[in-house]
Subunit: 427 residues, 3 copies
């Protein structure tokens, strides 16, 4: 439960908001690299943390993320001509480079120096791991680029997708750190989805009453869920939450790892990023084909958009017969849309002053607290939030069996570290 | 004319509004029985008096109307599994019975007693007369179920439909107590509609200047409209208005009786319920077929919804040629859509401070006053409103001819009482 | 740049706004004559300066523009019967003549005099030049009808169209007085559009850095743009701006003249009127056919509406390949949609406190100032705005070559006056 003012604080991320200031200290996954495939390709409109921006790749291949609107008369530069080292407003020909610096005002004499005084908001945009990352914060606080394990893997070992979701980022992200819903909402998928092939873990996971043990990590939280395994042993599933919005799903056997980022578009919409990757082998054609078909935790998209085919307007193709038979627990198909349907049903921003949390919501409670603490620490002491250092990103989720008397975060600390060439820990 | 604050008072019915409190003292027609046809069938989302609710029928066939949102994390229970005596939230498996009582929280030990402390708002929902009735008020004030005549008739003698209308309930209901518009707006239908077959009454009704005599009844108003009949006689058409939103159309000869309920969904939308019934004979196949085709005062619906095929977005298929020829007085086809088109054209909530009422609006004025008085009496003295007792429902509209010196409400008091097996009074 | 309160002042035109009061002193182009083609034809809903009105032509062919809503119960008279000298509300038969005067209330005795007390807002609506003009201001201030040159020409010499645009009138109108954007945004069209056939002027216009000289005229502004022509000579293009929202495009050779009116529907929508006319010859079949196809500065409309086929919802059919090749400078086809796309991209009402104006925006600055001055003069001194007298309308735009030492507005004052039978001045 959050008081209404706490709820506003943790969910609002526009300019000059405390949480927005926190988010502006991180590199933010903004576009798929394929959205800006080549020099002088069409620019892309981006709304990020409630800012309306334009991303483009200039003639030399440089990337930029600048204000969407021309400084002159506020025309959208999306209509602009991307050519010869910048984007040119089609109205009167003002031209901007990738930093937002105006480099040409045709009507004004060069020697007047006017052009140099015109500068749009401009943010660094950098390609890494198939994703374009933006940094919207103060220059002096800019951290190194993220180093999530999947970013350094060969392309053949990862698959990245994103989908637009019509609700605040937080209630979407809370689904990612809420291990306890899997045994209900996704129970049908644990044994049928090609990306969750039958494993010992999936068997253990039928126990719908796991116990949770949560520990703070350098960059976020280690969320351990334990179930009974063989006598004297627990089956542990460890989710990683990394500030401010990354989640890593505990793996199943040798299946690929899965990770999410839940990025605010504005206060009532977000992008759900999904990364599936394997540290030591290429993804199989079967896996890739399934993901392209919206299987696993990916989703089927309306061509030419990042909107999902199943969506609120069509009630996510609710299938009451499949719900009745148990084939689909909620009647909605696909893990991604199962989550999205429920999260969107909570409304654009759920009123957390009305919720009734229980012990299994501990991870959610602790994540919110950590976000709220970070906002306060930045606001009052200027303290940079956790999770900006790359060391926080080089982690893994894991599943394993341990004797009941061992503490998982100490006994298997090795399992949480991403090491090149070393397989992930999973049963 | 109403002052703006009076207009707000009489049109707003959400929780904690004075008029909303009045409406919460009545049983409310909420769903067609066929919308919840069998045990464990799909639940139905209901918005009623601005409350978002979920109606469902459990495994034993019990009916419930509960808050739409799970107490835990505010997910819509419309996605829930309706099985084994309750509806189970698909997110974490919390389960509710038809009263809104939580009966299972899988993550919490039964012995903790936590589950018992969780209770959603839940309202009684009862099937009677082919309709599911809800009561949203205080338990101690709950009246007996309504006893409208059609509710006790065999199914073969009644036909019930409902349609969604995009305006406040009051301007819709005012159409139902506004006898004087019939000779204009519906003049074309009086002689062509299969459910208004030529009668003596329809002939008399061509007089567009009736005089009105209105009397308070136990549950509302008797609205008498008189026209000249044969010398020395008046032709009387008596409409019933029963608190808070029922209207009964004066009949034509032996044709079936027609009644409406105008039920607020929220402050800018309502459901128009229409009940056609005959006290002493089955409805004919011709009548039923016409009503299924949207004739009479029923409407053509978009399949799978309660939205009308003709609607605001398509200008109700305005037919200027038919308007010109006089075949359709307003150019809109069908009595229901003739009313709905004009009522919706007034805007979501008409500004009654701008209207110019005349003597023929007396019934409207008196109904508003009675509603406003009821709100005040409940608010200041806790007095229950009129029309909650079933005796108020066992009434009929009527048409008859009387000598000019007789008072209709005394001379033909018998005609207004619904008596089993006794035909209605109509010419 | 305007301060936010100035921006509000100059962009808001509803009842009781200072700029709205100014606009209500002019005759306003409201409908194409063909929209009310004959006596008793269907009425047309009109929103003008944020007022919801109904235009109709009565049985005698008289035109009226009255409040959309019946005085009685506020039903839209668009559903009314237009017959026998007035429009009759279909609800209870109240009838209004073209002045808004109620002429029949069927339920009330004629001798009661009630009917005479009922009067809707009603404004004069007059046909001239193929356009229906409305006057929404005080009776005593009503000016003579406009006398734009095209209004008096035979129909065969003019072509009038209008299209709905989703933004405030001012940012649309600013495009019409912004000569400097033509060499950029419309550069592709200057040589390919059938209505801008290759002319000497179009050659000179390739110079993208014209100098501007602006002079106040009786009714608005003379906006002169000069470019180098042959040695010792300037090529001049003179745009006319006539208060409050008329613009006249400088011509190309013997091609037809083009004029616009930018009329507020409400504060976030406007109608862009386009008039193409030739003072001394009929428009050719080639020209007419091109305009009907949405060429020139006209646009392709969705049949049965004044909405454009290319619009915001479909990104104006942005063609990146044509943009890249230079065939379409901004990637949007058609001069009208090139302007509309950019103007709508600025948002419903652009925030002028954020803009960065330069010397080429002088005409825009001066037009805003003149509008703001007019609002102040009317508000504080009751002074009628400029441009209401017909003499202000009998003007022309022009293009010509002049020796560099001559002042265009003095040397070629003749070119700016519309004289019957005299060709326009254009190279």
């Amino acid at each position: 439960m959050l008081r209404p003012e706490q709820n506003a604080l943790v969910t609002e991320s526009g300019p000059q908001t405390p949480m927005g200031d926190v988010f502006r200290r991180y590199w933010i996954p903004t576009l798929l690299a394929e959205e800006l495939p080549e020099p002088d390709c069409p620019p892309v409109r981006v709304t990020l943390l409630s800012e309306r921006l334009l991303a483009f790749r200039d003639s030399e291949g440089r990337l930029g993320l600048i204000s969407e609107f021309c400084a002159h008369r506020r025309v959208s530069l999306w209509f602009g001509r991307n050519e010869e080292g910048g984007i040119r407003c089609p109205y009167h020909g003002w031209k901007y480079d990738v930093t937002g610096q105006c480099v040409d005002v045709p009507s004004e004499p060069k020697e007047s120096g006017f052009c140099e005084t015109v500068k749009l908001a401009g943010y660094p945009l950098v390609e890494k791991g198939g994703v374009l990352w933006a940094y919207l914060g103060p220059k002096e606080a800019q951290p190194p680029l993220p180093e999530f394990e999947w970013m350094a893997l060969p392309e053949s070992r990862r698959y990245v997708s994103k989908r637009f979701q019509e609700c605040n980022y937080l209630q979407a992200m809370e689904g990612g750190i809420d291990a306890s819903h899997v045994s209900f909402l996704h129970s049908g998928e644990l044994h049928t989805d090609p990306l969750h092939r039958n494993t010992k873990g999936a068997e253990y996971q039928k126990d719908t009453k796991p116990k949770y043990e949560i520990h703070e990590s350098a960059g976020g939280l280690l969320i351990g869920a334990r179930r009974n395994a063989d006598p004297g042993n627990y089956y542990w599933r460890i989710t990683q939450w990394i500030m401010p919005w990354y989640t890593m799903v505990p793996p199943y056997g040798d299946n690929a790892l899965n990770s999410h980022a839940w990025v605010p578009v504005d206060d009532t919409n977000c992008f759900a990023w999904t990364i599936t990757y394997h540290p030591t082998r290429d993804l199989t054609e079967e896996e890739l084909s399934a993901m392209r078909d919206g299987k696993g935790i990916h989703a089927n998209l309306i061509p030419g958009s990042f909107r999902t085919v199943a969506n609120r307007a069509n009630d996510y193709f609710m299938d009451r017969a499949a719900q009745k038979s148990g084939r689909l627990y909620s009647g909605v198909a696909g893990i991604a849309m199962q989550d999205a349907s429920l999260q969107e049903s909570m409304g654009p921003v759920v009123d957390r002053s009305l919720e009734r949390l229980v012990s299994t919501d501990d991870a959610i409670i602790k994540a919110r607290q950590r976000l709220l603490r970070a906002a306060k620490a930045l606001q009052t002491e200027g303290q940079a939030p956790a999770g900006v250092e790359p060391v926080c990103h080089r982690v893994r989720s894991a599943t394993f069996v341990l004797p009941v008397d061992q503490e998982y975060h100490k006994a298997r600390a090795d399992a949480f570290v991403a090491k090149e060439g070393v397989p992930h820990t999973s049963i």
